[in-house]
Symmetry: D2
Subunit: 129 residues, 4 copies
Amino acid sequence: MLSESTRYSQDQAAGLAGVEVEDVRPGYARASLIVGQNHLNGMGMAHGGIVFLLADTVFAHACNARGVKTVAAQCEITYHLPSCPNDRLTAVGTEVYLRGRKGLYDVVVTNQRDEVVAHFRGHSVALRG
Amino acid sequence: MLSESTRYSQDQAAGLAGVEVEDVRPGYARASLIVGQNHLNGMGMAHGGIVFLLADTVFAHACNARGVKTVAAQCEITYHLPSCPNDRLTAVGTEVYLRGRKGLYDVVVTNQRDEVVAHFRGHSVALRG
Amino acid sequence: MLSESTRYSQDQAAGLAGVEVEDVRPGYARASLIVGQNHLNGMGMAHGGIVFLLADTVFAHACNARGVKTVAAQCEITYHLPSCPNDRLTAVGTEVYLRGRKGLYDVVVTNQRDEVVAHFRGHSVALRG
Amino acid sequence: MLSESTRYSQDQAAGLAGVEVEDVRPGYARASLIVGQNHLNGMGMAHGGIVFLLADTVFAHACNARGVKTVAAQCEITYHLPSCPNDRLTAVGTEVYLRGRKGLYDVVVTNQRDEVVAHFRGHSVALRG
C-alpha cells in the first residue's frame, strides 16, 4: 500500500482539480473537494465532469489499494443535486464485488449538508502481469 | 445560440482542463484536448476523469445548443484505450433522442490515430421555466 | 401494501417467467426463479433477459411498495456468472436513494451456491397524480 | 452463420416471450414482438423485462453473427414510452464498436407508430478458445 500512496501522490489530474485524498484502504477510499470558481460550468454550478473526477479518483484508489494495477473499464454517474461555489463535496467509495480481475465499486458523493449529490458506479479490471 | 456560446465561453472547468470547443450546433458539438502532464493519473495515463470531462463538455454543449437550459441527469463512459501525453483527443457528440424535456446524446472520443478511446452516453433533462 | 400485492399478483410477465416473489416491504423486495429449459438461450445458459426480468421484478416491487405508482426510467445489469438449468437464482433489491419522485435501487442476484450472478441498478420515477 | 441460426433457433427464452427474429447479419439484427396479456406487469403495461428481453435477443444475435461465441458483460436500457397490449415492438441492433474480444452494440426499440420505446446499449465479450 505504500507503493500505492506513492503512485497516487503523483495523480496530477486529481491535483489539478483540487481533489484531496483523505483515506485509502483495500476496497475503500475517501476524498473531498471544495467547489471553486474554476470548477464551474457555464451555468455557474459545479461542472459534472468535476464531480465525476472526484468520484473517479476515489474509485481508482479503492480498486488499486490491494496493490494490483487496476484500471476503469466503465463508469456511470447519476446526478441528484447541483453544487455551488464553496460547497464541500466528499466522495466515499466501497468495493461491492471482486472476482478474478473484475471489480465493482460504488461511490457516493455528498455535500456539507449531508445531501447526496451523485451516485457513481465503477467497473474495474486488473491488468495482467 | 449566441447566448449559448456566451454562456459556455464561461465554462471554467472545461477551460481548467484545456478543453477547446470547436463546433456547436443544435444536437451536435465537437471539442478537443491535448493530453498534458497535468491530465495524468498515478499510472502516467490520461485520468479517466479528464476523458470524461472532455466528453461531458461536448454533451453539455450539444444538449444546450437549442437554447433551452438543460442539465445532465446521468452519464456513462466506457474506456477502450489509454491515452498518453501529447495525444490529441477529439470528442464528437450527437443527439440520439429528444422528446419533451428528456434527451439522449452519444459522444465518441478518438485520438490522433482515429482510434476510439471511449464511448460516452449522456441523459439530459431540460429545466423548467 | 395490500393493494400493492394485489396489483403485483397480476404481474403476468413475471409469472410467465416463473418468478416467485417472496418478500416485499417499503424499499425492499426479494424474489427467486429456478432456471428451466424455457429460460435458456441458444448457448444453453440462462438468457440474460431472464436474469434481468427476475431483477427487474424485484426492483418494481421495491420501488412500488410505498404505495406510490412508480415506473422504471433506466436500468443496467452486469453479468458475472452464467446460470445453468436447475440453478436457483435469488434476487434481493434494496433502496439506495429516494428523493422527490426519483429513486435508485440496487438488486443483487445470487445462485444456490451464494455466488453473485449479476448486479442490477434501477432508476425509478414516481408517476404524477 | 448457418450454425448461428441453428444455435439461436434453440433460444428457448426468446421463444417463451414470443420474440420473432427477423434478420441477422454480422453486426446487425432485427426482431419483433407483439405485446400480449402474458407480457404485462401489474400496471397493465408491457413489463420492462419483456422489452429488455426483446432488445437483449437482438443484441445476442448481432454480436454472435460473426460466428465467435460471444456473451453479454453489461447492458443498460432507458425506457421512453410504455407499451400496451397489441403494440408491435421492433428492435434493431447495430454494432457500434468491435476491438479484440470486446464489442458495443446499440439497440433501438420502436412501436408500430415509429415511436421510440427504449434505447438499449450492450457490452459484449467473446469467449476464448
